[in-house]
Amino acid sequence: MVAAAERIWLGELINAFAFIGAGGHHAGRDFFGGYCCFNDVSIAIERLREVHGLRRVAILDTDAHHGDGTRDIYRDDPAVLHVCLCGSDYASSDGTKVDVAIHRLCWEAGARSDEVYLEAAEAAFAPRARTFCPDLLVWYFGFDGHRGDYGDLGLTAACYNGLVGLTLALADQVCSGRLLVVLGGGSRADLASSLIPPIIARLADAAR
């Protein structure tokens, strides 16, 4: 994660996909759980800040569960925009920490869950990211909300295809295309094999 963020920052890459061995977004400053050990995204951010002068980062967390560790670390940090689609509904007073209660919306949407999810992600993240003007955009991509996985929100590959399109377009608009996609939750090997390569293919298309 750190190497991916650094290579993007240094201009050696325009974007990257980072696989993981354990999760990161449930690891806070002094707690961990949910199969997360260290907050990989935060460690990468701190490296870029300290060594390379990174100022502002925007994180879209579409893992099915709340990124409580990331939120804990950056709760009082206005230089990090953290928009999380999860089970809670929240917006900080400065607008840089936002939770979207997507679970209920997807359950109510039934067969339209992909569409509802994408609309919610775009509405919550896109205008804030444009205003925030980050130096780097991070998409915390979990596929646990896919149909049949442990955080089932009724989502399909179409939703993730829409999310990679959204984050690529936003990165292009606000930070010269610098996009780091980080693998989050999701347990099924068949889904990993069918969902991850098309996302990387979209990143590669954008890098041509």
């Binding site: 991916a4 050696e12 061995g21 002094d30 260290f38 999701g186 991850i196 954008a206 890098a207």
Partner: protein, 78 residues
Amino acid sequence: MTSERPNLMPRTGIFYHPSFSQRSYLTVGRRLAAFPDALRDLLALPQVVLFEPQPVSDELILKVHTPDLIREVAKDPL
């Protein structure tokens, strides 16, 4: 594992370590069993580069986490 292709920019990086396919995300364990083979077509693209990540220092981890957390993670049986 690393297959850098200099002078082809912009590029897409894939950061993957073989250990991720052996004992990956712990809810199931081997969700990435099909990788890196599942990336074969992508790695044939000239703008795609594969990297093998290396460990970071405790000093860097301590920029984010407390010493107690590092100790507790090390003791965790998972």
